[in-house]
């Protein structure tokens, strides 16, 4: 036995210059630590001196060399298996690409009874039914959605407040299920609603048709109601009551909530997390405000920079970890998406963190008037006069015209991270995405200058934070592994 171990060690001992580098990228996590990533994002922490030793071929630390071999960062000359394994893993990560488009967003009305300070769309008063989607438009949109090769179709109802056009939601759901009899796709439905209009009829419909509810909850009552205004100033009360009713009728996992960070949120991360835990919600998505629509106005809530948001995010993550230590299960959704990308070979396909970008091939948006957009943010831009991401109209455009349109292919090809300056050599490229809508909005082109990009600073900050915590805290690393499953 001892001889076998000795033989094994002898067989794997690498002399100086006894290995070849495989494609690797590095990022400094501080003065004493560097993370190395391979083509698919598997990673190893080293010191700066170790990085130099590995690159120059002088490293004598056999344990480190063994770890580098294990994640295909170096190989022994003559080996072919590492390249083959990397190729399989790369193909696994990209397997979603031929199966576009999984998410289809139906804007069934622009009407809304809220006047949220950060609203990104051109909301209309609840009485103006001319801003409702018609059945004919919905039918045409369904025809396009079912042309998608994806075996999974998620139909998400958005607004405005989509429940103001509930009869159309009911009709689309029934029609989609009828059409699916001939397609056999895995069909899912989500209503993105503020829950203020939730009643027994809608709950019964959701229960019968297996429809999920996604709502907005910005945290404690005064924070939420300050951001999300409606007559009576009772948005929080309505949302909380709706969440509880939905949990009771549909089950705890059939209703989820999202928050939006305004400057009023920044010092209240722990309170926000606790508000979610008090309601029995098991996930929080700590989201920065998006640079579109009303959010950009002085009172829109976006008056903070990336560094301040990262402090908020770190504080929120700490509180979530603390709750988990106390056996209160809670997930930070963004971290869980990144955990999948860091710790597995699958890509969750989250639209903002994919390259090629998720626009069009990850999601399509059908506006109330039939216009088709490459993303929800693209629709928001159009509301302010920029129709760059309008791909056509359901009444006049074929599926091929939409998916092969210049308006989709140009931003997709121009923003691919693997060929973008800085991204191509960035250690975080396998975790990150291309966001051509964001960069078109903030920089005037689809790629942006990443050294000046808030998208890059924010995501680099989040990746760095998560990696440092995984490096330093075994409990957090285990938590990330659980979130990655």
């Amino acid at each position: 036995m001892i001889n076998a171990v000795k033989l094994e060690r002898a067989a794997t001992t690498l002399p100086p210059h006894g290995w070849r580098l495989l494609p690797m990228r590095f990022h400094r996590l501080g003065a004493d630590s560097v993370v190395l990533t391979n083509l698919v994002g598997e990673h190893v922490f080293v010191t700066p001196d170790e990085l130099v030793g590995v690159a120059e071929g002088t490293c004598g630390d056999q344990d480190l060399l063994a770890r580098l071999r294990a994640v295909h960062l170096i190989q022994v000359p003559g080996e072919t298996l590492p390249a083959e394994l990397l190729a399989i893993k790369l193909r696994t990560r990209m397997r979603r690409l031929p199966d576009s488009t999984g998410l289809h967003i139906f804007v069934v009305t622009l009407r809304c009874e809220h006047t949220c300070r950060y609203c990104q769309v051109s909301r209309q008063s609840a009485a103006k039914s001319e801003f409702d989607m018609t059945r004919e438009t919905a039918r045409r949109a369904l025809d396009l959605a079912f042309r998608s090769p994806s075996p999974h179709l998620k139909i998400e109802f958005q607004g405005g407040e989509p429940l103001l056009n509930f009869p159309l939601i009911r009709w689309i759901t029934a029609e989609a299920k009828r059409m699916n009899a001939g397609h056999g796709k895995d069909l899912a439905f989500v209503i993105a609603t503020n829950l203020a209009l939730l009643d027994d009829e809608i709950l019964e419909f959701c229960a019968e048709q297996d429809v999920h509810l996604s709502t907005s909850l910005d945290g404690p009552q005064n924070l939420h109601n300050g951001n999300r205004r409606r007559p009576g100033q009772d948005s929080w009360q309505q949302a909380v009551a709706g969440i509880r009713r939905a949990q009771e009728r549909l089950g705890p996992d059939r209703v989820s909530a999202l928050m939006t960070t305004t400057e009023a949120s920044l010092d209240r991360a722990a309170e926000i997390i606790d508000a979610y835990a008090d309601l029995g919600l098991r996930g929080v998505f700590l989201r920065p405000i998006s640079p579109y629509g009303f959010a950009l106005r002085g009172r829109g809530g976006a008056n903070y920079d990336v560094e301040r948001w990262l402090e908020f995010y770190a504080a929120g993550l700490d509180q979530i970890v603390e709750l988990n230590r106390q056996a209160v299960p809670m997930v930070e959704i963004y971290a869980s998406i990144i955990a999948k990308k860091m710790l597995t070979n699958s890509d969750p396909g989250y639209v903002d963190l994919t390259s090629p970008a998720g626009i069009g091939i990850g999601a399509l948006v059908y506006n109330y008037d039939g216009d088709i957009y490459a993303s929800d943010e693209g629709r928001m831009l159009a509301e302010s006069g920029d129709r760059t991401f309008r791909l056509g109209n359901v009444h006049s455009s074929s599926y091929a015209e939409v998916m092969l349109s210049d308006g989709l292919l140009r931003p997709l090809t121009e923003s691919i991270a693997l060929s973008a300056p800085m991204c191509a050599t960035c250690a975080f490229e396998p975790y990150c995405g291309a966001d051509p809508v964001f960069h078109h909005t903030t920089a005037g082109d689809f790629t942006g200058h990443k050294a000046l990009s808030a998208f890059c600073r924010r995501n680099t900050g989040v990746f760095t934070l998560l990696l440092r915590k995984m490096r330093d805290d075994p409990y957090f690393r285990d938590l990330m592994r659980r979130w990655a499953q």
Partner: protein, 126 residues
């Protein structure tokens, strides 16, 4: 196959860096040890903090730094740029050394996907 050329440790590449002109912040890099590509990548990467003018000066590259901050700390700025250059030198070397393998991995990954005409999951048709 390991990177050829100068050392990669602290100060490498920028080891010969010096200054010209009292008012300007200029760093000198020896063309024998520093690729123009690495300098250009460095200038791009630090664009949020400074812009950089790169000129050929005899056997050297002269990089003049223009800080965006109105009251910069000159030493911090020089250290920042030198550190970035050192990292970019290493990135360029690794990229050059591993490019054939990178291309091989991508070729393997995207073959047999069924995306290319005449190419099936079972294998590429003759």
């Amino acid at each position: 196959m390991n990177p050829a050329g100068g050392a990669l440790g602290a100060g490498a590449g920028a080891a010969g860096a010096g200054e010209i002109g009292a008012a300007e912040i200029t760093l000198i890099f020896d063309q024998a040890t520093v690729d123009l590509d690495a300098l250009q990548r460095s200038a791009y990467a630090v664009a949020a903090e400074m812009t950089v003018d790169i000129r050929v000066s005899g056997a050297d590259y002269a990089c003049t730094l223009f800080p965006r901050d109105r009251h910069p700390n000159d030493d911090d700025l020089k250290h920042r740029f030198r550190a970035e250059v050192n990292d970019q030198i290493l990135r360029v070397r690794i990229a050059k050394e591993t490019e054939p393998l990178r291309n091989l991995v991508f070729a393997l990954a995207f073959s047999q996907t069924g995306l290319i005409e005449g190419d099936t999951e079972a294998g590429t048709e003759a």
